[in-house]
Symmetry: C2
Subunit: 226 residues, 2 copies
C-alpha cells in the first residue's frame, strides 16, 4: 500500500519506520522537502534531526504535502496540531477526497508554558475541524493517546494489554484503521467510541496523559478494565 505520512517529527518518523518495515511504500510529506532533508538539528533531544533520520531510511521518500498525498492510498496526519489544518490544505482536498485519513494530532497550545493547554476542546475538536476543512476525507481519530513508540509497538508496554480508541463518521474507514491497528501494529483492544465528536474526548484526555507522563514517564497506556 502507498502511504503518505505527513509530518517529520517523532510521530512521523516512528510511523514511517514501522510502515516501511511492514513493506509499504511510504512517503513522508512536509512543507519543504529540501529543507527537511538538510535539517541536522532537533529541538527535542529524544527526536533525531530529520536529515539524519532520512539518511538512515533511504527507502522512505520525502515529498511536499501535496506530492505525498497525491498517489497515496492512505494518509496519516502526524503533523503538529497547530499546523495540521494548513498542512492538510497544502496536501490538497483533491488528493484526500475519498481517502482514509488517520488523524494522530493533538491541539496542544504551548504558548502559555508547560503543561500545554488545548487550543480547541470541549465543544469542538481538532479532528472535527480537519473533517470540516476537508469534507471529502474520511477522518479517523486514533493513536493520539500514546507516545510514538507505543503507537506502533503496543507490546512495548505491559505486553500490549491496554486500549486504543478510534472514532469517526465513516464506518468503513474506522474498520480499515482498526485492522491496521490490530493486524499491522498488534493492538489487542481497539474501542470504537462512535462518531467524530468523540475526538473531543480523545483529545481532552491529553492533559491527563501529560500529567501521567510527568509521573510515570511516557512508556505507559491505559487499559479499560471492565
Amino acid at each position: 500500500m502507498r502511504i503518505a505520512v505527513l509530518g517529520t517529527g517523532s510521530v512521523g518518523q516512528t510511523m514511517g519506520n514501522k510502515l516501511a518495515a511492514l513493506g509499504h511504500d511510504v512517503v513522508i510529506g512536509t512543507r519543504d522537502p529540501d529543507e527537511a532533508k538538510a535539517r541536522m538539528t532537533s529541538d527535542r533531544d529524544w527526536v533525531p534531526p530529520f536529515g539524519k533520520w532520512h539518511q538512515d531510511h533511504p527507502d522512505v521518500a520525502v515529498a511536499t504535502f501535496s506530492d505525498a498525498a497525491a498517489d497515496a492510498d492512505l494518509v496519516v496526519n502526524a503533523t503538529n496540531g497547530a499546523g495540521s489544518i494548513d498542512a492538510l490544505k497544502a496536501a490538497g482536498s483533491e488528493h484526500l477526497d475519498g481517502k482514509t485519513l488517520i488523524d494522530i494530532s493533538n491541539p496542544l497550545d504551548f504558548s502559555h508554558g508547560m503543561p500545554p493547554s488545548l487550543f480547541v476542546s470541549n465543544t469542538d475538536s481538532l479532528a472535527e475541524q480537519i473533517q470540516a476543512a476537508l469534507p471529502g476525507a474520511r477522518v479517523v481519530k486514533s493513536l493520539n493517546t500514546v507516545t510514538a513508540r507505543v503507537m506502533v509497538e503496543p507490546g512495548s508496554v505491559g505486553g500490549g494489554d491496554h486500549a486504543m480508541f478510534v472514532c469517526g463518521n465513516h464506518d468503513d474507514a474506522k474498520a480499515e484503521v482498526t485492522t491496521i491497528l490490530t493486524d499491522w501494529f498488534g493492538w489487542q483492544d481497539v474501542i470504537d467510541l462512535g462518531d467524530l465528536t468523540a475526538a473531543r474526548a480523545m483529545e481532552m484526555y491529553l492533559p491527563l496523559w501529560l500529567r501521567l507522563t510527568g509521573t510515570v514517564g511516557p512508556m505507559f497506556n491505559v487499559k479499560v478494565v471492565r
Copy 2:
C-alpha cells in the same frame, strides 16, 4: 471520625452508605434537609429518592450544609458540579478552614444536551475554583473519574486492578485521602498527579469516561499500565 458528605445524589448516598458501614459518624449535608427527607421521587431511575434512602439509613444524619460541616473532621463534596461552589459557601468557610475537603464533583454542563460539555476546563478547573473560593480548606481532588459504586468498592471492577488519581496543594491532606482510598475503600494503585492544577486533567477525562460509559457501561475504570 465525623464526616460530612455534601450532596444527596448517587455519590452522596454511596459515600454515606460506605462511610457509615465503616463505623464513621456520617452526616449528609443538603440545602434543605426537610425537603430532602420528604423527597420520594428521583430524576434518575438508578438513584433512589433521597427520602427513601434516608428511611433505609436512619443511622445517617441529615443537616444543612452549614450544620453538617460545622463539626466534621473531614468533608466530602459530592454535590453536582454546577452547585458545588454555592453549596460549599453555604457550608461556610469558617467550618472548612484547615479541614481536608475531598472534591468528587465534575463541572458537567448539560444545558447543550448530551453528552455534556464542561463549564470550566483547560486553563482552570472546578477544584481550583473551589480552592480559590475557600482558601482555608485543604482541597484534594479524587474519585471523580469513576461511577459511584466503584469509588467505594474498586474490587467490583476487575478485582480492583485499576487506578485512582489524587491531586492537591496540601501534601498532608493528599496523604490522608490516599490512606482513605487504600485502607478504607481498597484502592490498590493511587497515583499522585501533583498540585491542584492537575484537577484540569482529571476533570477533562470526563468526556472520555462518558464515551466509554456509552460503549462498555459505567462499571469500568482505567488501569495505568507501565
